[in-house]
Every structure is written in structure tokens, then in C-alpha cells.
Amino acid sequence: MNAVKDIFRSDYENQWCPGCGNFGILAAMKDAFIKLGLAPDQLLIVSGIGQAAKTPHFLKCNTFHGLHGRALPVATGAKIANHALNIVVNSGDGDCYGEGGNHFIHAIRRNPDITLLVHNNKIYGLTKGQASPTSDMGMVTKIQKQGVISEAFNPLAVAIVLGAGFVARGFSGDKDHLSELIQLGVKHKGFSLIDILQPCVSFNRINTHDWYKKRVYALKESENVHGDHTTAIEKSFEWGDKIPVGVFYKEKKTTFTDHINTLQKGPLNSVKYDREKLQKILSKL
């Protein structure tokens, strides 16, 4: 962003911990938006509650910072009201896969043209370090004294079997790659999920920046844009010594708002109230 003016700069003080992976995500977002030619007044960011969900405060944009877990329905409603909106959702692993798990499933089924960025730090950051749905088994916290005993949630695999048309994983430590993924996600017509591996320096002592650096590798271009469920799912389960990032699955699908007849006449929020039409109905009762 050196030469380019930081048009997304927010005057609002950033509240993340120094060294947090979220800074990398924020930088990649700005970079992607600029490369996409978007201006702050052309962008609506919807978020839930958590460290991740604070993101829209830290860049200039239209913002709806809603409830913990409930960003996706808000975004879906906004998209119905004005399907011309460019909507990005910032969410956390707890926000999106824990409290908001049901909306995650059903947003994918609907396929609205929205880009979902999940800052996956495998921990509840803002509430000070409880396990999240993506925490690996065995992780010890103040609540999980014995270590996590539930299977880690695999968002990519779930999204793929639910029929998501764009499923990717990024890493906050690789801004350029992440920016590319975000650009692809935003350009994809339909629901796009980008799960982002994000170190939390304050509470996750396992999945650190270095831990990831050693493991993360980019899927090859050829592996990328494949419409083949099986391989995509298999890849999504690769975890441990080697962790793939990139686009796991991509497929063109009719979007939610393209499906709805009424909306083909134009954005809902731009139609005028029509008394005649209503009166006709009332008179025919």
C-alpha cells in the first residue's frame, strides 16, 4: 500500500493486541478492496462480536457491527433490501462456528452474494481464552482444564458438503496471498467462505505465527479451482505437519437474490410505494 493513498484508513483507535494476526488480515482486506477498485462508500461490512468482529471499526466503510454470532442473517437481510450492495462479513471462529453455527449452515444453503472472512484463531479471544469450535483436541484452557475433548470443527469440509460455491483458506501471515483470496472471494458471484488462520498472541500458545509459518503451503494453481468435491474435502482434512491454504473448491451457482423473482426488477429499497396497487387488492377483498 506504499504508493497508494490509504483510502480505507480509519481514524478510530485500533484495540487489538500488538502482534495480533488480525493486523495482517486488516492489511490484506484494504489491499484487496483497493485492487478491486472499491471505495469505502461502496462497501458494507457486517460483523458479529469478538476481536475479529471489531474489524470494520478499524477501516473506513459502512458498518453494521451486530450481535455475537448473528452477522450472516443481518448481511442476508441487507442483501435482500439492496442486492447491489458489496457485503463483506468479518467473523471469528466462535462467532461464526459456535454461536452462529446455524446461520453458517443456512447462509451457505441460500448462497447470497456475500464474502465471509472468518478470523480463525482457534480460541475465544475477546472473552479471554476459552476453547472455540476449531480448537484442537487437548488444548488446555481455564475452562477446558482437562483439555478440549470435542472434535475440532472443519469449516471448509462442512462448507463444501453444504454446497458452497467458493471455499478457501488463508493465513494472516501472508498478506499478498490473502489479499488475492479476498479479491477472488469478492469477485465470486455467490457465497464465498475464506477461513483465515490467525495467531492470537495473547491466548493461543499452540497455533502461533511460527507454528503456522512452518506448516502452511499454498495449493497449486492446478489444485485450486476444482469443482471436485472429493478431492476438496480430502484436502480440507490435511492438518498437522502440512497445512494447505488457497481455494479448495469453486463452482458457479445461481445466487440467492438472483433466484428471487421480485428482485429482478431492481433493488427493493429503491422502489416507490404504490398506493394504487394496494387499493386494488383491498377493493377486491
Binding site: L67, G77, A81, V271
Partner: protein, 566 residues
């Protein structure tokens, strides 16, 4: 003339079809009607009924005695026998004659088969009922034509035949009551409560309805969905009620008037979202159609049990509107008003209805009229002094900040569920917090000015019956009955419940010694609310909480007992 016809049988037998047909004929004839729909939480079998009160004058409540009972099975007859007027008549769906001379046996299915299709047995039953009432066959044919012509000549003809067979089967029976039948060109409309609610939403320029199915609210959204092809309107079934409320908040934030409808259980799940609408000052309309609880309770029954709940729902305090319409006309107007006021003050509006209002049918005088305009309270860039400096939560004396929409101009709109500054960004500052609480609360005086005072009926009477919501018709009729028996009784009906019209109510009730609450709950919620807001207590509460609608007679009987003792 004022008679009650009760059609009863098992779920799935077509009770509503029979009833609806009778209702259409009445409308054609310029008569009035009020019909309650009683059914169990099951799809087939069991027992249900549709009870139509027909009159040549407008009627607003059901009557507890039955003139004509149409029993589709024997069990139904046994259940309702005791409600029969001494000179009432029963049409029983069977071939064998019954010993009882009050009962006429008519084999509806058999006659239907004769008419050429067993499926027309409901038309046979309707024909028989109308025959008893001596409705002209012409009127029946006309109504059948509007119902069945579109389905083909054959189906229409079979139904005419079926109606005739039913009609003829009763031609020798004498019935004490009847109407002066004529074909009328009246503008009266036959409407179900939930239909009036849905139309009221359209009159309020509603564009998005997101909901999760729940009795007795589903009918509202099904009605609304009927209009989604022709109107700029999307009805979306959400994965759960939490999604529903958050979707409409998103829709409203992006600029369209939005609503949801649910019952208490769904409303419970929406309470957090209610607070989100409040702190982001996003207008939304929520219909809570009450049914008995707690929890699942009685899904298809009626109640007035959520008044305190909706006034206090969600953490912390914030202004909201609460309305409880008492008739379909009022439901239509209230919905439209709820959308208007919710947007004007940027607060959530809750409309309390119940199964009784939603699922009952009414013929109402005149029609409904569409509002001439939908006044919007949204700013374009041009209307903002400096769009680049726009602050969504700017504070002024009214507490209502100028509202722009996201991505509709240069104004950047920032909203947060955290306590926030005027520009929408999070703030933990002490002074900001106080300012923001005061800002939101400062809307209340203006909001209260929008509230209608309770509607008085013989307001100067010694005894005052106080009710709210769907029991309006029953309470008024009880007053009429009581006055005809020389009791000095009147009533007040509360539709606008929150912000509570404190001063108006205090003025009305001050010095009144005989205040009688009439409510469909077990703790006299309105009574408690009045006391909370004015300090004025009540002397008697007539409470019905069995899930069934309130009949004028319920009130009259309890009133007399009370009046006798007091």
C-alpha cells in the same frame, strides 16, 4: 337477528371449508359475521370446530349459545350438545335417524356421492345449513360460481348439485330463526384477522418479511407471501427466529421496512435481537401472536399473556412501541401505524395479537383503504449538510438522529451493538454513555404523544371494565348486555400500551372505585401495568386462561357475581 352456527368434527374433515362457504354467502347477502376457528395441534382426527355468528348488524365477538350445530361426526354432537339453545337444531352427518327430535340426520358423504363426487360433501353440508336458514338457492349458486367456476364447469356443476341435495334434504325442517335474504351490493369485506394484519403491513410499505413458522403467527406470513410476486416484497423463511429478527434488522438498516411475526417462544428467541434494533436504532416491526404457554403450551389456542414480557424484553432499557389491536380494522391500521412510528422514531415496534384475532373471520363494514403515501424518514446525501462528516447517531433534543442508508451516497453509516459514539464507533467513555442513554430515552416524551388514549365506552359509568387487544368486541358487548340489564357499566379498551399513556389513564381512572380488569391471563397483566404507571389499583379481575376466546357471556356472568357481592 343474530344466530350462531357451529360446524364441528375432526381435523381434516373440511370444517373450515363449510364455514368459509357459509361466510361467503353471508357476505353476498350483506349480512355480518364473526367466526372463531377452534382446532387442535394436529393435522387429522381429534376434534375441532368453526363457529359462525351471523347477524344483520355488525358483530365483534362470538356467542356462547348455538342455534344450528352441524356435526360431522357423532362425538362432535356429544361434545357440544350442552351449548344448544332449546329450540336449536342439529344436523348430524349420518344416515340413521336419531331418536332426539332436535337432531336431523343427513348423510353428507352419501349425498355427495349422489352429486357425483364424494369430495363435495362439504358443499352438501353447507347447502343443508343454508337450506335450514332459507337462503335463496340463487345466492348459493352465485357464491359457488365465484368459488368453483375457475376450476372447470364439471366441478362447478357437481357442487351446485351437492348444495341442492343438502338444501333439499332439510326443506321440510322448521327452524325458528332466519334472515331477510337479499343480494346486496355492500362494500363489506370478509376477512381473517391474519389477513388484515398482512394487509396492514403492506399499507405500512413493508418490503421484507422474515420469519420462522410458528402458530398462530404463520398465517400472517402466508398471507403476506401471497403478495410477494406483485409487490416489492420478499418473504423469507429463516432457519430460526434469531435469524429472522437479524435479517429484518439487516433489511431495515439497508433501507426497507421490515417485519417478522412469531409467537411467544419465537419472541423469546428474538429478545436479544430486539435489543440490537434498539441500540442501533434500526426500525423493525415484530408481531407477537400470543398463545398459551409457558414454552410450547397450547400451540393453537389463544392468550393475552405476554404484555409485561414484551414491554421488558431484552437486557437494559430502551424505548419501544407496544400495540395490541382489538379488531381486524384496528389490526390493519395498527400495523401500518407501527411501521410509520417505528421508522419515525427509529425504535422497534411490537404488535401483540393472539390466536383469536389471527384465526377468526369477520365481515367488516365498508372496506379498508390504502394510505395515500408512505412517509419515509431517510436522508439522501443532498439533505445532509456535509455527507462526508455524517454521523449516524448525532445527538439533538429529539433523540432521533437523521438517518442515512449504507452505500447510498458519500455518507458513511456506522452502527454498533456496543455502546457507541455519535459516529457509531465503540466508546466506553462515561460521559458518552450517559449521553447515549439519555439520547435514546429522550425519544419517549414524543413517542408518548403519539399514543392514543384508551377508548372509552360509557366512560362515565360506575363500573369500568378494562381490557386490551383482541377482547375488545367481547368487552363492549358485555357492556351492552349489562346496561340492558340496568347495570351502570362502561369500558375502556387499550390498544396503545407502551409508552404507557400515564396521564390519560390517570385522568380516566382517578377516583373510580370499581375497576374491573378483563384479561386472558392469570395475573391481570394490564391491571399490574396500570398500577405500576399510575398507582391506581383495580377492584376485580375477570381472568380467562383456558386458551379459548372470551365470550361476552363470560364477562357478564362474572360481573354479576361480583356486583352482587360488592
Amino acid at each position: 337477528m343474530d344466530i350462531t352456527i357451529k360446524i364441528c368434527g375432526q381435523a381434516g374433515q373440511g370444517i373450515q371449508t363449510v364455514g368459509h362457504f357459509l361466510a361467503l354467502v353471508c357476505r353476498e347477502a350483506g349480512l355480518f359475521l364473526m367466526a372463531v376457528n377452534d382446532f387442535e395441534s394436529r393435522i387429522r382426527g381429534g376434534h375441532s370446530f368453526f363457529q359462525i355468528r351471523i347477524s344483520d348488524k355488525p358483530v365483534h365477538a362470538p356467542h356462547h349459545k348455538v342455534n344450528l350445530l352441524i356435526a360431522l361426526d357423532k362425538k362432535s354432537f356429544e361434545i357440544h350438545q350442552k351449548e344448544m339453545l332449546p329450540e336449536g337444531l342439529v344436523l348430524l352427518n349420518q344416515a340413521e335417524k336419531q331418536g332426539n327430535k332436535q337432531i336431523e340426520s343427513i348423510p353428507f358423504e352419501e349425498l355427495a356421492e349422489k352429486a357425483g363426487a364424494k369430495i363435495t360433501s362439504n358443499t352438501v353440508a353447507a347447502g343443508a345449513a343454508l337450506g335450514v336458514l332459507r337462503a335463496p338457492m340463487k345466492l348459493i349458486e352465485k357464491t359457488l360460481s365465484s368459488q368453483f367456476r375457475s376450476k372447470g364447469e364439471d366441478i362447478f356443476k357437481k357442487n351446485v348439485k351437492a348444495a341442492e341435495l343438502g338444501y333439499d334434504a332439510v326443506k321440510d325442517i322448521t327452524f325458528k330463526w332466519g334472515f331477510d335474504w337479499k343480494t346486496s351490493e355492500s362494500e363489506n369485506i370478509l376477512i381473517e384477522g391474519s389477513h388484515a394484519i398482512a394487509l396492514g403491513a403492506l399499507a405500512g410499505d413493508c418490503r421484507l418479511g422474515a420469519f420462522y413458522p410458528m402458530s398462530p403467527a404463520t398465517g400472517i406470513m402466508a398471507r403476506l407471501a401471497e403478495y410477494s410476486d406483485d409487490f416489492p416484497l420478499v418473504v423469507e423463511q429463516a432457519e430460526d427466529e434469531i435469524a429472522a429478527i437479524n435479517m429484518i434488522i439487516g433489511g431495515s438498516f439497508a433501507g426497507v421496512r421490515s417485519m417478522t411475526a412469531t409467537s411467544g417462544g419465537g419472541f423469546s428467541l428474538m429478545t436479544e435481537g430486539l435489543g440490537l434494533a434498539a441500540i442501533t436504532e434500526t426500525p423493525v416491526v415484530i408481531v407477537n401472536s400470543q398463545r398459551p404457554g409457558p414454552a410450547t403450551g397450547l400451540p393453537t389456542r389463544t392468550a393475552q399473556t405476554d404484555l409485561h414480557f414484551v414491554i421488558n424484553a431484552s437486557q437494559d432499557e430502551f424505548p419501544r412501541f407496544v400495540f395490541a389491536p382489538g379488531s381486524p380494522e384496528e389490526a390493519y391500521e395498527t400495523m401500518s401505524r407501527a411501521f410509520h412510528l417505528s421508522e419515525k422514531y427509529q425504535v422497534p415496534a411490537i404488535v401483540l395479537t393472539d390466536q383469536h384475532l389471527n384465526d377468526s373471520w369477520f365481515i367488516i363494514e365498508g372496506g379498508l383503504s390504502a394510505p395515500y403515501k408512505a412517509e419515509r424518514f431517510i436522508l439522501k446525501d443532498e439533505q445532509i449538510e456535509d455527507a462526508f462528516k455524517y454521523e449516524r447517531f448525532a445527538i439533538d433534543a429529539s433523540g432521533v438522529s437523521p438517518r442515512a442508508l449504507p452505500c447510498m451516497g458519500n455518507a458513511i453509516v456506522v452502527a454498533s451493538s456496543d455502546e457507541h459514539r455519535q459516529d457509531g464507533h465503540i466508546s466506553e467513555s462515561i460521559t458518552n454513555r450517559i449521553d447515549m442513554v439519555d439520547k435514546r430515552n429522550s425519544k419517549i416524551p414524543d413517542m408518548r404523544k403519539e399514543m392514543n388514549s384508551p377508548d372509552g365506552y360509557f366512560a362515565d359509568s360506575d363500573f369500568l371494565l378494562l381490557g386490551w387487544g383482541s377482547t375488545r368486541g367481547a368487552v363492549r358487548e358485555a357492556v351492552d348486555i349489562l346496561r340492558s340489564e340496568d347495570f351502570n357499566a362502561g369500558s375502556f379498551h387499550f390498544t396503545d400500551l407502551w409508552p404507557f399513556p400515564d396521564d390519560a389513564v390517570e385522568k380516566i381512572l382517578k377516583g373510580k372505585k370499581k375497576i374491573i380488569m378483563v384479561e386472558q391471563n392469570s395475573t391481570a397483566q394490564l391491571g399490574r401495568l396500570i398500577r405500576q404507571q399510575t398507582g391506581i389499583g383495580y377492584s376485580k379481575a375477570i381472568l380467562k386462561y383456558d386458551g379459548r376466546p372470551l365470550y361476552p357471556n363470560d364477562i357478564v356472568e362474572h360481573f354479576k357475581e361480583y356486583a352482587r357481592l360488592s
